[in-house]
C-alpha cells in the first residue's frame, strides 16, 4: 500500500456506481447508437440513390462551365438588393428589439409581470424563421423584397432582443446600483450607467445578426421575397446551369466579403 508524504493512506472518495467509468462509457455509447439508429431510419439514408444520381450531377457540372456572365449587371444588382434587404430588415429588428430587451432583462425590467410574456413573445419571433415569415408576407403584401424585409425584421427582432437582454443581464450590478441609489430614475440609470458599458457588445451582436441575415436573405427569393435567390430559383427551374454557377459565385463572394467586413468591425469594437 503506497502512502502519501505524511504516511497516511487516503482511500479514493466513494462514487455512486453510475459514475464509474466503464458503466458510464457503455451507457453513453448505447445512447449515441440509439440516436443514430433512429435518425438514419427516419431520413431514408440511401447511398445507392446518391450513386445513381451522380452522373446527372456530373453532367450538370459539365454544362455549368464556362459560367454565363451575360447578365452579370442584373445579377450584381440583385446581390446588392440582398444586402440591402439585410440592412433594412436588421434595422427593423433593432427598432422592435430595443424596447423589448429592457422588459426581457431580469435586472432592469420595470415589471416582473411583463417579463415572462415578453420572453415568450420573443421566443415565438425567434422560433419562426425569416423564411416562414417571408412566405406569409408574400401572400399579404405581394412578391418582392419588401415581403422579405418584413420577414427578416420580425425574426431578427426576436434574436436581437434575446441576445441583447442576455448581454444586459450579464452586466455588473454594482455601478447600476450606485447610480440608482443617487436617486436617479430608471431611464437615467439605463442611458447613463448601463448603455456606455454594453454599447460595444450590443453593436457587435447587431452586426452578427446582420451578417447572418445576408446569408438567409440569399434564399428568401425562392419564395418570391426578393434578392438574388429569385434569380437562383429561375436558373434551377430552367436548368440553366451556366447562369446558376455565376449566381453561386456571386453569392460566395458577397457572403465572404460581408463576413470578413463584419468580423473586422466587431474586432475593432471590443
Amino acid at each position: 500500500m503506497r502512502t502519501g508524504d505524511a504516511g497516511v493512506f487516503y482511500p479514493d472518495p466513494a462514487r455512486s456506481w453510475i459514475a464509474v467509468a466503464p458503466v458510464r462509457f457503455v451507457a453513453t455509447l448505447l445512447l449515441v447508437l440509439l440516436v443514430y439508429g433512429f435518425s438514419i431510419y427516419f431520413v431514408d439514408f440511401d447511398l445507392g440513390r446518391l450513386w445513381s444520381g451522380l452522373p446527372k450531377l456530373a453532367h450538370w457540372a459539365a454544362k455549368a462551365w464556362p459560367p454565363d456572365a451575360r447578365e452579370l449587371g442584373v445579377l450584381i444588382e440583385r446581390a446588392i438588393e440582398t444586402v440591402a434587404m439585410a440592412v433594412v430588415g436588421t434595422t427593423i429588428g433593432v427598432i422592435i428589439a430595443a424596447p423589448c430587451c429592457i422588459l426581457a432583462a431580469r435586472n432592469i425590467t420595470p415589471s416582473r409581470l411583463l417579463y415572462t410574456p415578453m420572453r415568450w413573445f420573443l421566443n415565438t419571433l425567434r422560433g419562426i424563421d425569416s423564411f416562414i415569415f417571408a412566405l406569409l408576407f408574400v401572400a399579404a403584401v405581394g412578391l418582392g423584397p419588401f415581403a422579405g424585409v418584413l420577414g427578416i425584421g420580425l425574426h431578427s427582432a426576436g434574436t436581437i432582443a434575446k441576445l441583447w437582454s442576455e448581454a444586459i443581464e450579464a452586466v455588473e450590478p454594482g455601478p447600476l446600483e450606485a447610480a440608482a441609489l443617487t436617486g436617479a430614475n430608471r431611464l437615467k440609470v439605463i442611458s447613463y450607467a448601463l448603455l456606455p458599458d454594453i454599447l460595444p457588445n450590443l453593436t457587435s451582436i447587431t452586426l452578427y445578426v446582420w451578417e447572418f441575415n445576408v446569408r438567409s436573405s440569399t434564399v428568401l427569393g425562392v419564395v418570391g421575397a426578393g434578392g438574388i435567390g429569385q434569380e437562383l430559383k429561375n436558373s434551377v427551374d430552367l436548368l440553366d446551369f451556366a447562369r446558376l454557377f455565376t449566381i453561386i459565385l456571386i453569392i460566395l463572394a458577397m457572403v465572404t466579403a460581408i463576413d470578413q467586413f463584419s468580423a473586422w468591425l466587431r474586432r475593432r469594437l471590443v
Partner: protein, 252 residues
Amino acid sequence: MTALSATDPAIRIVGLSKRFGDRIVLDDVSFEVAAGEVVAILGASGAGKTTLFRCVTRLAQSDGGQIFLGEHAIRNLGGRQLSIARGEIGLIFQQFNLIRRLSALDNVLVGRLGEVPTWRVMLRRFPQRDRQLALAALDRVGMLPYALQRADILSGGQQQRVAIARALAQQSRFVLADEPVASLDPQSAKSILSILRDIARERMIAVLVSLHQVEFAIQFADRVIGLRAGRMIADRPAAAFAEADHRMIFAT
C-alpha cells in the same frame, strides 16, 4: 482629536434588528454619528456590517428599530421620499462601482443624476453648475489631472478617489463606506481614509465606515463601534479602544 460638535446627531440608529429566517443578523444595534464625525464599525466577516449598511439605504428592510438620517426616518419612507433621502447618502463601495468605459469626470457626474432633468442626462448635456461641482470634487480628491481618463485604466486607489468625488458631487450629508479599503494596498488605503476624514471635517458630513483593520480604525476614526454576531459589543472613542476590545470583536 475631537470631532467638531454638531447640535443634532446626523445618523441615529435606534434598537435596529434584522433577522434572515431564524438567524439574527442585527440585534438591538444603537449608535449615533454626528455631522463632521467619522465612526468606524469593526467586525469580522459575517458580523452584520454589510446588512447594517443595506438597512440604512433600505436595500433591505430591518425588522425593528428606527434609522434617522437627519430628519428622514428611513424605515417609514417610500417612493419619492425614499429617493430624496437616498439622494443625500453618498455611498463608497469595496469594488468602487464606477462605470468602466466612462471617464472619471463622467463618473463623478453620476452624483448629479438625481438633480439633472432626464433629457439632459440622456443627451449628456449637464448644466455648467453641475460640471463645476464635479470638477471641484475631482480636484478635492487630487484626481483633476485624470478627469478625462477612462475609469477602467485607473488604479484601485484612484478609482476609489473618483468614487469619493462622486459622493462629494452629490453633496451628500451622509457618507456610508462599506469596506472602502479592503481591496487596496496599505498606502492607498491610508490616503483614502484620510481623505474621508478630511471631507467629513470640511463639509460636516457624517461618515460611517466599516473596516476590518483595527489600526486603521484607531488612526482615522473618531469613534469605533465593535460588532460581533450582530451585537454591538463596543462603542468607544478611538483613543480609548483597547486590546481587550480587539480580542472581543475578533475572537473565534
